[in-house]
Assembly symmetry: C2
């Protein structure tokens, strides 16, 4: 077990009609001039943006707005937000959307706290953030966990680089989570979200050493819960209870809770997927499903007891009379069966992309550049040739 | 499922030698003049108080100190702390100890933020707190969960009333948790702590309705973990991993995590025990063990599916071929067997107290007065005669 810090200051306000509290909450956390940041037109069409503006008007909180954030959010939109927020004298950023919108909001908030320097430097890891304006969200997609996390992932659309920067000062002040707001999501987005949620915890689960039984128990319970309710939502997308279970899991899967005591997590699947997202603009969760089985088969022998435990406790494999290796492989296979049941891919072909050998090398080389020391992962430490091998297995 | 708020702003710094960070953390959270509050002489003898003072000196943070907080902490000591802190111009209260010391610190912090009014009014529920000075802790006992919770329990030693006041503004700024600091605890205190930890989650688990599968999974995982490591500590008190599992569980069991989505919890066992603590000054966790089995047998029929689930998922009862009632009762019986294995009582006789009928009525009447509307509990709503019946069953 390793020493750890756990810091989740975000106030969660969860349940039906909670978006009505947004004005009061912004006041509680000191916001006096707000940038409302959002994604596509669905947030406008559904009336949510208008409701949020009314709630702010009711508290006499001035606001400006900027929509158009896309999945794998662009640095260009971040720069647009910075300019608008500066001009308007904004002191609080409210994201209305999912992880992409929240991450875009965090990037704007970093920039406004240090307006003389280029925010992309943070994502290049050439400096650390000096500060961050307060950020909060009205969540409309359960997936990224950005509503409580310290992480922020931005794509530089000019270079195709998708890069992350993590800092506790960007943890949101509050998160309004009304599961009803996620009900109109297409099933593919819902299931990609569930996949992402599970992966945030799986990345922390498959590590070499440092594990804590309490953390493992919480992680396994969370994973079982997401699997159960993702399948329910595949058949019954308007099921409130199922929406709520998955939504709350999205926050707990990535706020640090399921990683306490371990060595910081593996996160190789995320790093490998980020390159796929940067090059092909695939849906993040679906990209994770497409790469994880190949990653798992490439690394499982290095961390066999955990893959066995995962198979038995999460995937329900009966270990009686089987070798550890067979149990671990059956667990990976059952995970693929689960992905198929919820309409997720298990390889790149099913994801709809077909990278050439050159593109695979390009992604792997970019992944090496994005890593701190030229390698990724902890369940098994992966170097350039390992990444290429996994991409090829996943093709 | 009910709407819920979840707010756990406390920064947890967990692991070996983390107490060395106390000065830096106080600075981070704006403390400039500190009251160091602690309990008995063991914190002084062990050298911990000196280490804390050195850490503050190294950061040039002036401090005063007040020891002598007893279990079931006294209002008189709170008043002493208020006077000392006022005179010294303290702006930050650091508790070095367990739940009693942290609760005493919270009460002092409430008073200093509103110095004209009597702090006991909060515990009489005749007004709400206007503010609270920042509080933090160096934890030395895993039990109460006060290091992350919004709760505070004080005993008015003149009237024998043990009363609680809960408010998010008292949630501590940080908690330093080094499991090594708990290693010298007597086994009885360790196990009473484990019992209290479990009960904080059980109080949230046995409720009528509003449960969330994710919350239940987390609760069950936490309970299994505490049981496992409490037994290990009974045999091997210096086991670091076991100390760490139980310590981290103490915070998660009572910070709100294991109650999300339910109706606020039952807490009847806590209310019944508070009266025993107020009248007989028993160890809180041991008092809970002495009353819970009787409470459970009195109420289980009202909430049978949950008692069955608890028996199967937490106590490991095999339900095959048994009625639901038998499964539920076997679960309660197995809980008693667990209490005995870790040296805890399962009734008042084993706890070492023998209240008369008059004393039982007095405790029940005081419990009614302490309740909001003359009744307690939610798994089954309990009135005066129910409380008397449970106390008599537990005698």
């Amino acid at each position: 077990m390793f020493n750890f810090n756990y810091y989740t200051p975000t106030k969660v306000v969860f349940g039906k009609e909670t978006e009505k509290q947004v004005g009061r909450l912004i006041k509680e956390f000191g916001g006096s001039r707000v940038l409302i940041h959002y994604g596509g037109k669905s947030a406008v069409r559904s009336g949510l943006i208008n409701q949020v503006k009314e709630a702010l008007d009711n508290e006499q909180i001035p606001h400006v707005e900027l929509g158009g954030v896309v999945p794998n959010p662009h640095l260009g939109k971040v720069r647009e937000g910075i300019a608008l927020a500066k001009a308007a004298g904004v002191d609080f950023i409210l994201a209305v959307g999912g992880g992409s919108v929240i991450d875009s909001a965090k990037a704007i908030a970093y920039a406004l706290a240090d307006p003389e320097r280029d925010v992309w430097e943070l994502f290049q890891h050439t400096r650390k953030a000096k500060g961050c304006l307060p950020v909060a969200s009205v969540l409309t997609i359960a997936a990224a966990g950005s509503e409580m996390s310290n992480s922020c992932v931005i794509t530089n659309e000019e270079t195709g680089e998708k890069r992350s920067y993590n800092d506790d000062i960007a943890r949101p002040k509050f998160a309004i989570m009304n599961p009803e707001l996620t009900m109109t999501l297409p099933d593919y987005q819902t299931q990609a979200g569930a996949t992402d949620i599970m992966m945030h915890t799986m990345e922390r689960y498959f590590t070499q050493g440092g594990n804590m039984e309490l953390t493992d128990e919480l992680a396994e319970g969370l994973l079982r819960t997401v699997m159960k309710y993702a399948e329910i939502l595949h058949a019954d997308p308007a099921n409130y209870e199922a929406r709520a279970e998955v939504m709350w899991a999205s926050s707990l899967a990535h706020n640090g809770l399921t990683g306490c005591g371990n060595n910081g997590g593996d996160f190789a699947s995320h790093m490998l997927e980020h390159e796929m997202g940067g090059m092909f603009d695939v849906t993040h969760g679906a990209g994770l499903a497409a790469v994880w089985p190949s990653w798992a088969r490439y690394v499982y022998r290095e961390d066999l007891p955990r893959f066995v435990r995962y198979a038995v406790k999460v995937m329900g494999v009966n270990p009686a009379g089987k070798t550890e290796e067979d149990v671990a492989l059956e667990g990976i296979h059952k995970m693929e069966e689960f992905y198929h049941r919820i309409g997720m891919p298990v390889n790149m072909r099913e994801l709809g992309i077909a990278p050439t050998d050159e593109q695979i090398r390009e992604m792997a080389e970019s992944c090496v550049r994005a890593s701190a020391d030229g390698h990724i992962g902890s369940a098994k430490v992966l170097y350039l040739e390992d990444m290429i091998a996994i991409y090829k297995m996943a093709r």
